[in-house]
């Protein structure tokens, strides 16, 4: 449905163009422009999404490439040297002689895995529950809403701790899912109320009269409208997973073979007498900075994301859609 529309738009320009049949290459170029290049341009035009996106990319780079460039931390090096004193350990070492840079870098991939799995799990579940309960209404709605209300009121962190104690997971993907075990409920409620508003719009009523299947109505007509909420909450859930995992690693509830910024903090604080002078500041600031910068990147990204789905801003940045309104400049 939406495919036909975009082709129609691009052909509806001048008379000469109207006669020419668009070739396959044109079609692909147009799709690339609409689905890939335009969102990128919109993102780049807002400083928040730009900075946030760059920060996230940097972490992904560190997680994918950086782990091959920097050797895993090993004990037995010189102990407690400060940052920038020994070029072999640019960020200094801890009380076991492990390089802090290597520890921060090698904690990144499991963290990214947890973030992605947690965010995918909770947004996917929330989108399904929210759209179905909002659109179907009736008993389906009552049952699904009651379940999400219950999930929403159970305090998250204690629940997560109980799950972790019972299952003792060690796979980062599985831990990510447990950490966002009831994060989906809030988003499901938001999506439901959006869908409740949407479902009585005339164009959706038209689809219903045309006997379009429920599946197609939800995918074609409803989902594009709730994408902003989905993306923003994807990013927020990711942030929640970071907060939760670092906290639980810090208090030692999670026992896993991989390293984490929370474990680094725990080591600094639990080593007796390690923190009694200002010179140990680098030891706790390094993991804290890793946490705060990644989370800041996600916050910036989600704050600017709303523009991505604003059709007016999109149209201004798309090359394959002809300008109809007055040019406002870019």
């Amino acid at each position: 449905m939406s495919d036909k529309n975009t082709t129609f738009n691009s052909v509806g320009g001048s008379g000469a163009e109207r006669d020419r049949q668009p070739s396959k290459a044109d079609l692909y170029r147009e799709r690339l422009d609409i689905f890939v290049l335009t969102p990128l341009r919109v993102m780049w035009s807002d400083w928040r999404t730009r900075t946030g996106g760059l920060i996230i990319l940097a972490y992904v780079f560190v997680g994918v490439v950086g782990v091959h460039l920097i050797e895993p931390a090993q004990t037995g090096g010189p102990r407690l040297i400060g940052p920038l004193q020994n070029m072999q350990y640019p960020l200094g070492t801890n009380n076991l002689g492990e390089g802090l840079l290597a520890k921060v870098v090698h904690a990144t991939p499991p963290m990214l895995k947890m973030v992605v799995s947690g965010a995918v799990f909770s947004t996917a579940l929330a989108t399904v529950v929210g759209t179905v309960s909002g659109y179907k209404g009736g008993y389906t709605d009552t049952v699904l809403t009651t379940i999400s209300d219950i999930a929403m009121t159970i305090p998250g962190l204690p629940l997560v701790i109980l799950f972790l104690v019972v299952f003792e997971p060690s796979n980062p993907f599985f831990i990510g899912v447990i950490l966002s075990i009831n994060a989906w409920a809030g988003l499901a409620r938001t999506i439901r109320s959006q869908v409740l508003e949407l479902r009585d719009q005339s164009y959706i009523e038209a689809s219903r009269i045309m006997d379009v299947s429920l599946h197609r109505i939800i995918v074609d007509d409803i989902l594009p409208n709730i994408m902003p909420y989905v993306l923003i909450s994807f990013v927020n859930t990711g942030r929640g997973v970071i907060f939760g995992s670092v906290a639980l690693f810090y208090i030692g509830v999670l026992n896993v073979p991989f390293s984490n910024w929370g474990i680094m903090l725990n080591r600094a604080y639990s080593t007796g007498g390690a923190l009694y002078s200002w010179s140990s500041l680098y030891w706790i600031i390094t993991p804290m900075a890793a946490i705060v910068v990644l989370s800041l990147g996600l916050v910036l990204f989600s704050q600017g994301t709303e523009r991505l789905f604003n059709p007016r801003i999109r149209a201004r940045h798309a090359e394959s859609i002809e300008e109809t309104g007055p040019t406002t400049g870019d």
Binding site: P158, I161, L196, R239, I284, M288, Q303
Partner: protein, 337 residues
């Protein structure tokens, strides 16, 4: 009235499902409470002889159900006992769980109440001022600061405060809830000691929390200021102060009510980490103690109490929402497609 009944029923349903859930979880635990009780019996009676009667008696005492009953009877007894307020007996402390909770809950409630009030007061005020100064330097600066503070986890702030203000500068105590040489009485000395010990925990929650509220309030207020009825009010000559408080303020604060409900749950959950960092003997502290010592009755009891507290707060907020915002009615469009 129908709404009232429905909401109360839903809250009860939540509590019952949490109790059932904890029962199932206890049975899933590796090791499990039964192993503990069996070990106790063996210790008192010699290695091999396990007296079923004693085992049953101890399990009723600690866990509220007898191991000899069929599982549905166990579940029923467990639920019934808990709904009557009997949460079992702690393995580790030997006291009834209820007493430990009565002792620790006031501290958590004290900490969280002050934190929530301060977070929302500062956030709402700041957000409103930012909205009225939209686009100016004050707004830009504070939007940046709010976004930054919003991305600092409360426990990172707490750890940093402990390092800077407690360990290095010794301005505040690093742990505890009150100076140990004071008797608990409402003397000025005692109260000031309590506040002194609570400063860092409260500061770490408030400083990392108000940014999000301010951003939310700013967005709502800007949207509200752009509405037609505000312009009409200006044209009618309604005084600016009245518009700011009664028109814009009221309507912009309403959507924050949902955020308030989420905050309550979030802060109660977060108390596990926060109280651990400050060794503050509240509910969260004992919950983690229970988990680390595999003290099943204690951890389940506190988990249930925290859930009930959050459910009660949300129920209260939900039921009073209608008084603040009369537009809320029983959701009308419930037609099924």
């Amino acid at each position: 009235m129908r709404y009232f009944v429905k909401r109360v029923g839903q809250s009860l349903l939540t509590i019952v499902s949490v109790v059932v859930f904890t029962f199932v979880m206890i049975r899933q635990m590796p090791g499990g409470p039964l192993a503990y009780i069996r070990a106790q019996v063996m210790q008192s009676r010699g290695a091999d002889s396990i007296d079923m009667a004693e085992l049953s008696k101890l399990s009723v005492d600690y866990m509220n159900y007898s191991v000899n009953d069929p599982i549905h009877v166990q579940l029923f007894n467990y639920t019934a006992q808990i709904l009557q307020g009997d949460l079992g007996r702690s393995f580790n402390y030997g006291e009834p769980v209820g007493e430990i909770i009565l002792k620790s809950a006031p501290w958590t409630i004290f900490l969280l109440t002050i934190s929530i009030i301060l977070t929302f007061a500062i956030g709402i005020l700041l957000g409103a001022v930012m909205a009225y100064q939209e686009g100016e330097r004050f707004d830009t600066a504070w939007t940046g600061v709010s976004m930054f503070l919003n991305s600092v986890p409360y426990f990172v702030a707490a750890l940093l405060f402990v390092y800077v203000f407690a360990i290095q500068l010794s301005w505040f105590p690093a742990s505890g809830n009150v100076a140990s040489n004071l008797d608990s009485a409402l003397t000025p000395q005692y109260v000031s000691s309590v506040l002194y010990h609570a400063t860092l925990p409260i500061a770490s929650l408030v400083l990392t929390g108000f940014g999000g509220i301010a951003l939310g309030m700013r967005g709502n207020a800007i949207k509200e200021i752009g509405e037609e009825y505000i312009r009409v009010a200006h044209l009618r000559g309604v005084p600016g102060r009245r518009i700011a408080i009664r028109y814009v303020g009221r309507n912009a604060v309403l959507p924050l009510y949902t955020q308030f409900m989420i905050s309550v749950g979030f802060m109660f959950g977060g108390s596990v980490i926060l109280e651990q960092i400050f060794a503050y003997p509240g509910l969260g502290y004992y919950l983690l103690e229970g988990i680390n010592a595999r003290d099943y009755p204690l951890m389940m009891g506190i988990f249930i109490v925290i859930t009930v507290a959050v459910v009660a707060c949300i129920l209260f907020a939900d039921l009073t929402y209608g008084m603040i915002d009369p537009r809320v009615s029983d959701e009308a469009s419930r037609e099924a497609y």
